[in-house]
């Protein structure tokens, strides 16, 4: 089964992205939303969290939350795909279950 992991907290403030990366199943997906989108930035002290992924995870980030925070033009980690709310729905449909890392 494929799991969609959803992370909504800043990697600078909380540990939930780290927990998610530790426990996500190889080949599953991670969607960054709300304050979680800061983890998608390519040039920060926390960029390596995602860049060092060894589990072949699929990474997605919610455009709407990037825009809200003024990050539309900011440098992103290459391997991350951008989705909007429609894309969020598609990801939910395309995976077997959803794990929100609150």
């Amino acid at each position: 089964m494929r799991i969609l992991n959803v992370v909504n907290k800043s990697p600078f403030e909380r540990n939930c992205l780290e927990s998610c990366l530790r426990l996500a199943n190889s080949g599953s997906s991670i969607l960054l939303i709300e304050d979680g989108v800061y983890a998608a930035l390519g040039n920060t002290a926390k960029s390596t969290l995602i860049k060092n992924d060894q589990k072949n995870l699929g990474f997605y980030v919610l455009i709407n939350d990037l825009d809200a925070r003024g990050l539309s033009e900011a440098p992103m980690i290459d391997s991350i795909s951008r989705v909007d709310y429609d894309g969020f729905v598609d990801l939910v449909v395309d995976h077997d279950s959803i794990h929100s890392w609150l």
Partner: protein, 141 residues
């Protein structure tokens, strides 16, 4: 199945996972998640109750909330254990409950199995990761 059902769920069988990852008392998440776990028993579904990160502090022995005025919910974990045993022993109910802690989480917090109020399966991150991938409904708080 409780009486106030609206949707047609007769015969539906799913694997539920309740993820307990918050420290107790600083916030209410631990207590209200526990109420959710207790209610779920009536639906006779398979469930994994898993303690990770600061959630392992929820099942630390010796909670004494008297001088903070808060409600001590630690005894309820005893009821969770009983529910699990009942399900295990009753052959007529197709319901398995598992109570799991992540090894890495308890070790990082200086805890061992003897410190916990519940008998639990101790799984490594890798083992827990595989178990998580088998769940239909994952409820976090």
């Amino acid at each position: 199945m409780p009486e106030d059902s609206i949707f047609e769920t007769k015969g539906v069988k799913k694997n539920f996972m309740f993820v307990c990852n918050k420290a107790p008392y600083g916030t209410i998440y631990a207590l209200e998640a526990l109420e959710m776990i207790m209610i779920s028993a009536a639906f006779e579904q398979h469930a994994v109750i898993v303690f990770i990160d600061d959630g392992v502090f929820q099942i630390k022995k010796g909670h004494n909330t008297k001088s903070t005025g808060m409600k001590n919910f630690s005894p309820t974990f005893g009821v969770v254990s009983m529910e699990k045993e009942d399900a295990d022993e009753d052959d007529e109910i197709d319901m398995v409950w598992r109570i799991v802690v992540e090894k890495e989480s308890i070790e990082a917090r200086g805890l061992s199995e003897e410190d916990l109020v519940l008998e639990t399966e101790v799984l490594s991150s890798g083992e827990l990761s595989d178990l998580m991938a088998k769940q239909d409904v994952i409820l976090t708080s």
